[in-house]
Symmetry: C2
Subunit: 305 residues, 2 copies
C-alpha cells in the first residue's frame, strides 16, 4: 500500500469511527428502555467512559464493509456494528482490571477502574456485555428474527468460553504454562481473532448471504485477526508508550510467549505479507466492491498504533 | 401453608433442582461446540464450581411451572430455565468478588475467587453471562426464532444496566447514599426482582401465550420478587450463618438500609402475607394448574434459608 492509499483509507476509517461513536453515544444515554426500571447514572457514566474513548472502531468498520459487499440494509448493519463494539469495549474494561492485566491507561486515558473504581468497572463490563445482546434483540434492529438469532449465536460463540473469554483465560495461564507454537496460535485465535472473525462474518449474516459467502468472510476475518495479533506483538516489541497510548514492552517483561518472540521480527513481517495476500485472495470474487476491505487488511498488518 | 404442604412442595422443588442440575452439568462439559475453538479446562472448572453447587434452583422452577400453565414445550422450557440459571450464577460469582460484597462462602462452599482466583472468577462470570444467550440462540433450543428473540430481549433488559446489574450498582452506592423507601424498593426490584420477574414471564413467552397472560405472569413475578427480598432481609436479621451457608447480619453491620430495618419485622411479616395474597390473586384465572406456583409464592415468603 502506498502512503497515499494508506492515508485515504485512514481518512475513511476516521469518518466511520465518528459515525459509530455517534450511534454509541445515542445508545448509552440515560433513558431507560421498555423493560428497564432505571439506568443508574454512575454506571452509565462508567460505560460511556469505557466506550466513548476515540477508539479506531476497526470491528464496526469490518461489519459495515462486509455488509456492504452483499448490499445489506445499512441501518441494521450499524446496529450490529454498535453491539459488537459494546462487546469489544466490555472485554477491554475487564482485561484492564487489577486482577487481570492491571493497566492504568487505555488510549492515553485512565482505565475505567482508575477513573471510577473496581466494582463499577466490573459492573460496567457486565452491563456492556448484556447490552450487546440487547441491541441485537431490540426491535430497533430491523432484521428477520432468524438472522437475529444467527447473529446472537455467532456472537456468543465468538465472545464466550470457547472464544474471547476463553482466550483471555489461556493468556493469563500463558505466563506460567509457556504454551508451544500451536498453543500460542490457538490462544490468539480465541482472544483477539474470534471477535474480528465475527465482525467480518456478521455482514454476511445481516444480508442473509449464502453459507459459502458467510464462510468466506469468516475466513477473511480469521486471516486478518492473525495479522492483527502479529502486528500487535511486533508493535509491543518496537513502539513506545506514547505511540500506543498504553504501556508497551510488557510482553517481553512478562516473558510472555508470542510468535514474534519465537521467530523474530523478520519472520513476522513476511508472515504478515502472506496473511494479507491470503485475505485478498479470499475477496477476489467480490471485485472492486471489496476494495475497502482489502485496504483494511493492509491497514491491520502495517498499523503503527 | 401447613407444614405438610410446605414439605410436599419442598420435595417437588428438590426433584426439579436435581433435573436442572443434570441439564447444567451436560451444558458445562468440556466439549467445544460449533464456532468454539476450545474450552479451557480451568475456566470450565470455575464455571462448574459456580453453577453446580446445590442451589435451590428457584428461578428455573418458576420458568418450568409458568411454562406448564400454558402447556409449553417442556424441552424448550428446560433450556430456557438452564440459561436463566447460568445468568443467576454469573451474578453471584461477580457479587462475591473482593471489589463487590467480598464473600468467602456461598452455600457453605468457598466462593469461586476463593476456590480459584479473582481473574478466573471474573472470566467465569463473563463466560456464564455469555453462555446464557448462547443457550437461548442454540438450535438445541427448539422454538420459533421470534420467541427466541423475545426471550433474549426480556432477559437482557432484566439482567442489564436497567435491571440486575444496575441494581447491584445501586446496592453498592446505598451504603453511602442511604436511599429513601422508594429508592430501596427500586433497588430491590432491579437487583433481585427483575430476574425473578423474567423467570415467571419466560414460561409465557416460551409458550407463545397472549400478551395479557405474559403481563400477568410478569406481575406475579414482581410480587414474589418483592416477597423474596423482604424474606431475605428478615432472615439476615434473624438467622445464623450455618442456616444460610453464608455470612449473615452483614446488612445491619454495614448500616445498610432495608425495608425491614425501616419498618421492623412485624410490618415485614404482614407485608409478606399481602404479597402472597396478591400473587395468588394474579393466578386465579389458571385454577388448579397454578397450584404449584401458588405454593412457590408461599415458599418464597416463609423460607428459612
Amino acid at each position: 500500500m502506498t502512503k497515499d492509499d494508506q492515508m485515504a483509507f485512514e481518512t475513511i476509517l476516521v469518518e466511520h469511527a465518528a459515525a459509530i461513536e455517534a450511534q454509541l453515544r445515542q445508545i448509552l444515554d440515560g433513558r431507560a428502555l421498555a423493560g428497564e426500571i432505571a439506568r443508574p447514572e454512575r454506571l452509565m457514566a462508567a460505560m460511556r467512559h469505557g466506550v466513548l474513548n476515540g477508539g479506531k472502531r476497526l470491528r464496526p468498520f469490518l461489519v459495515m464493509e462486509s455488509a456492504a459487499l452483499f448490499s445489506a440494509d445499512g441501518e441494521a448493519a450499524w446496529r450490529v456494528a454498535t453491539a459488537l463494539e459494546c462487546m469489544h469495549c466490555y472485554s477491554l474494561i475487564h482485561d484492564d482490571l487489577p486482577a487481570m492485566d492491571d493497566d492504568d491507561l487505555r488510549r492515553g486515558q485512565p482505565t475505567v477502574h482508575k477513573a471510577f473504581d473496581e466494582a463499577t468497572a466490573i459492573l460496567a463490563g457486565d452491563a456492556l456485555l448484556t447490552l450487546a445482546f440487547d441491541i441485537l434483540a431490540d426491535e430497533a434492529t430491523v432484521l428477520p428474527p432468524d438472522r437475529k438469532v444467527a447473529l446472537m449465536l455467532a456472537l456468543s460463540r465468538a465472545a464466550g468460553v470457547g472464544g474471547m473469554v476463553g482466550g483471555q483465560m489461556l493468556d493469563l495461564e500463558a505466563e506460567r504454562n509457556r504454551p508451544d507454537e500451536a498453543g500460542i496460535i490457538r490462544l490468539q485465535a480465541m482472544k483477539t481473532g474470534a471477535l474480528i472473525r465475527f465482525a467480518c462474518e456478521a455482514g454476511a449474516i445481516v444480508a442473509g448471504a449464502p453459507a459459502q459467502d458467510r464462510e468466506r468472510l469468516a475466513e477473511f476475518g480469521s486471516a486478518i485477526g492473525l495479522a492483527f495479533q502479529l502486528a500487535d506483538d511486533l508493535l509491543d516489541l518496537t513502539a513506545n508508550a506514547s505511540q500506543m497510548g498504553k504501556a508497551t514492552g510488557k510482553d517481553a517483561a512478562a516473558g510472555k510467549a508470542t510468535l514474534v518472540a519465537l521467530h523474530g521480527a523478520t519472520w513476522a513481517r513476511s508472515q504478515l505479507q502472506g496473511l494479507v495476500d491470503q485475505a485478498h485472495a479470499l475477496l477476489e470474487p467480490y471485485g472492486e466492491r471489496a476494495a475497502l476491505l482489502k485496504e483494511a487488511a493492509k491497514f491491520v498488518a502495517v498499523r503503527s498504533n
